[in-house]
């Protein structure tokens, strides 16, 4: 397992200079998607909540960083504030919203995103529907290779934080709460507080990724953060495996690369103009359904279970948890 | 003539064995009691009889119609008493869903026919559940916990109704009861279940004086 991790680290670090420009963009967007998905995975796997509005926090981070830097705040400070602002927004929204459960929360998060998109589309301060333009690049970063390493570092930090959260007292308590909220609350676990903390943390991950996205792209529009993007993050989290550390990376990689491949296929001469979007919608949909149906624990826990079955090791606690809930 | 025949039935729930080689039979127009403590497997047996759980081994044969009064009554709380009864005849098709005969059998339900079943008292709900089961025009009625949570007078009136049904229509009855005294006084034969097995079977009157039964199920507080 350690060698595998080391190999992944080495390969991903060696990759950026070798990639052509177009593939480098895929590398960066994949890393950002994995960063957001890490939060979704924590939220779904540990707090047991489906968020259909995670792209809202991605947008909040992006717009926060973009607006700050457009108004003259140094870009690095803008980048650091992006996750903070997203997390604060999550705390303010989460305090009332996290009273909701299940499909109510799913619709509530979706509503939050629609409201945000509508406000951004109308707010002249945010560039309206046309978008926010002229965002400077991150200071000191001239080319995309630099951004690739920034994304790599951001994802690494996010995964390390996730790992610590999962192993922490709060993480264990949340796992217990996911099985029986009443029992956990009765034994003195501040379930509501922990859940809000995970919500804020997942928003911070999304906000940080959004900040990098803003500087990388240089312009933002409400149309860059559709509801479908939130659904994509859910697909990636479910496909990779909820509540695992590697799951978000695997899920994002599988889906981004597959969609990229289908995009290439769809833009071949002779294909109808709608082919790329149709193919990607179909892939999201089928992967989501197949994953939920036939591999409810996702790729990573399933692979780990198969591996541990051969080595007769015990299943991981998170896999057990999800097995109970599945 | 055997109406219900259960032979060597085994049912497991995710590894745990709920029924372990249970054999039981019920003749036409016979009233049989099944007694045992909580968790002995009685309710699983009831579900197996109605085909709601699958047998892992052994088999269940029912020669005739079987209707069930489930534990906890399980009425359709937001539906009227009359609709509850109608749906009891669901398997019979449209013509078999006339409820008027039930009000003749259980006149107490008449004034309640428009009330939502969820608003009724426990005894009234049990009456609805029995009426609903009778709508299926069963040859055998399986009642899971007739007396649970009901006042003694209410239980007595239900028992009287069951005796009448048995006498007038030849209805067979399988009564699952925690109140062994009640079960043994109503039925002619009884089975005693413990930990998923039948441990005793025999004439109800004989079992009522069996030391093992009196010690375990007819404890002092009934006297």
């Amino acid at each position: 397992m350690k060698y595998l991790l080391l190999a992944v680290v080495v390969v991903t670090l060696a990759l950026p200079p070798l990639l052509p420009e177009k593939q480098l963009a895929v590398y960066i967007l994949l890393g950002l998607a994995a960063t957001v998905t890490a939060g979704v995975s924590l939220l779904m796997g540990y707090a047991g909540q489906v968020s259909l509005g995670q792209a809202a926090f991605y947008a909040i981070g992006a717009y926060a960083a973009g607006l700050l830097s457009v108004h003259g705040v140094p870009s690095l400070i803008g980048l650091l504030l992006a996750p903070v602002i997203a997390a604060v927004a999550a705390v303010l929204l989460g305090a009332p919203l996290l009273r909701l459960r299940g499909h109510h929360l799913a619709f509530a998060t979706l509503a939050v995103q629609l409201i945000l998109l509508s406000l951004l589309g109308q707010g002249t301060w945010a560039g309206g529907a046309i978008g926010l333009q002229g965002i400077p690049r991150l200071s000191g970063l001239k080319d995309d290779i630099g951004y690739a390493y920034v994304v790599w570092a951001v994802l690494a930090i996010v995964l390390l934080i996730s790992r610590n959260v999962v192993a922490s007292r709060a993480g264990r308590a949340l796992r217990a709460a996911a099985t029986s909220e009443t029992a956990a609350a009765a034994s003195g676990v501040p379930v509501g507080g922990y859940r809000l903390a995970v919500f804020a943390l997942s928003a911070a991950f999304a906000g940080l990724a959004g900040g990098v996205y803003a500087f990388y792209l240089g312009y933002l529009a409400p149309g860059s953060f559709p509801v479908l993007l939130s659904i994509e993050f859910v697909v990636m989290a479910v496909v990779g495996g909820l509540g695992t550390i590697a799951g978000p990376v695997v899920g994002a990689a599988v889906i981004v690369l597959l969609v990229q491949f289908l995009n290439e296929l769809g833009t071949q001469p002779g294909m109808p103009s709608y082919a790329p979007s149709v193919l990607s919608y179909a892939v999201y949909a089928l992967l989501l359904i197949v994953a939920v149906r036939y591999m409810p624990k996702g790729i990573v826990p399933t692979a780990r279970r198969l591996a541990s079955r051969s080595s007769r090791a015990a299943a991981s606690p998170s896999a057990e948890l999800l097995e109970e809930r599945a | 003539m055997t109406l219900v025949d259960v032979s060597s039935l085994t049912v497991r729930y995710s590894g745990a064995t709920a029924l372990d080689g249970v054999s039981l039979s019920l003749d036409k127009s016979e009233m049989v009691a099944l007694i045992g403590a909580n968790g002995a497997g009685k309710s699983t047996l009831v579900k197996a009889l109605s085909g709601l759980v699958k047998a892992d081994a052994g088999r269940v044969t029912v020669d005739g119609r079987l209707a069930q009064v489930p534990e906890g009554r399980e009425v359709f709380a937001d539906l009227s008493v009359d609709d509850n009864l109608r749906l009891g005849g669901w398997r019979n098709g449209r013509r078999g869903r006339d409820t008027s005969a039930i009000y003749d059998l259980l006149p107490a339900l008449g004034p309640l026919r428009r009330r939502d079943a969820g608003t009724l008292s426990g005894g009234q709900q049990q009456m609805v559940a029995i009426g609903r089961a009778l709508m299926a025009r069963p040859d055998v009625l399986v009642i899971d916990e007739l007396s649970l949570g009901l006042a003694p007078l209410v239980v007595q009136s239900l028992v009287d109704h069951l005796r009448t049904l048995h006498r007038e229509r030849g209805l067979a009855l399988l009564l699952i009861e925690q109140n062994a005294r009640l079960a043994l006084s109503l039925c002619s034969r009884a089975y005693v279940m413990e930990a998923g097995r039948i441990v005793l079977v025999g004439d109800a009157a004989v079992l009522a004086s069996d030391e093992r039964v009196t010690a375990a199920y007819l404890g002092g507080h009934y006297e």
Binding site: R99, L100, R101, A108, L288, I289, V292, P296 | -
Partner: protein, 286 residues
């Protein structure tokens, strides 16, 4: 004053559409416990199909009716995937219907492209109490009201409707009396599909439809239905009409840009108040 009346009538027409989508959600949720995220897709598919059938020369009413029937069939297909496998819990089914909603995008784009579509409805302008409104809004109301009346009769007067209610009330008891709960679930999906489809064919002449219109439809439909805890079709009707009128009034008196926000905030408030009243733990334990 006549402005006000005009806004209210228009709002009722728009709200009737929300109510139909919402009652479709309710029909499915009551019986199966699944919040069907693909509900908006039924409306989109029916609307797109109607435009094709009309273009192909089929007359009105026939085109719309065929489209509603197809939407019902699509409803059954969604149901088969969502609840077909025994033991699927409603949370999983929600994600599955989410996937099916996205899958519908792919199908819709292949069949009808990604451009907005519309078709002519009832033309002309009616004058009521001094208010001039598009006649088609009156048609929407005129169709929706009897549909809800028929729905109420179906659920309370027919054995099939009672059996559906029985599944909603107590699934275990439904199985005990011999009702096939899974088949009833699929029937509920058919009903949900038809109601969603009807919403689509009725509202498209006044509100063009794109493949991704389903998000607005489902959110408004959910907002309409959530008022009655997702279980009462009559409340979904009231909720939808209220939502429609509120939105039109806001738009009419100058807040046009913010009508969706208001609807969504209304929905959030209702849900939070409901949760505060019943307590969050109860629902989690369900």
């Amino acid at each position: 004053m006549s402005d006000f009346l005009g806004y209210v009538l228009t709002g009722l027409g728009i709200g009737a559409g929300f109510a139909l989508v919402g009652s479709g959600l309710v029909a499915i949720y009551r019986v199966t416990g699944v919040v069907n995220f693909a509900q908006g897709a039924f409306a989109v598919i029916a609307a797109m199909l109607t435009s094709s059938l009309l273009t192909a020369g089929l007359p009105h009413v026939l085109s719309e009716s065929l489209a509603v029937v197809v939407a019902a069939v699509v409803g059954v297909l969604v149901g088969v995937v969502a609840i077909g496998k025994p033991g699927t819990d409603p949370g999983t089914s929600l994600i599955v219907t989410l996937g099916l909603g996205v899958f519908a995008y792919a199908v819709e784009i292949v069949l009808w492209g990604d451009q907005p579509r519309s078709f002519p409805g009832l033309s002309g302008v009616a004058t009521i109490g001094g208010a001039r409104i598009q006649a088609h809004y009156l048609l929407i109301i005129a169709v929706t009201v009897p549909v809800f009346a028929a729905l109420a009769l179906f659920f309370t007067r027919t054995d099939l409707g009672k059996a559906l209610s029985a599944c909603a009330s107590n699934k275990y008891a439904a199985r005990v009396v011999g009702i096939d709960v899974r088949r009833m679930g699929l029937l509920a999906f058919a009903l949900g599909g038809a109601l969603g489809g009807l919403a689509g064919v009725l509202t498209t002449p006044v509100q063009q439809v794109t493949f991704d219109s389903d998000v607005t439809l489902i959110v408004n439909g959910f907002a309409a239905a959530v008022l009655g805890g997702l279980t009462r079709p009559a409340v979904a009707l009231a909720g939808g009409l209220l939502l429609g009128v509120t939105q039109t009034l806001i738009a009419g008196y100058g807040g046009g840009a913010y009508q969706l926000e208001v609807a969504l905030l209304l929905m959030l408030t209702v849900m939070i108040v409901q949760a505060a009243r019943t307590g969050p733990v109860r629902e989690a334990a369900r």
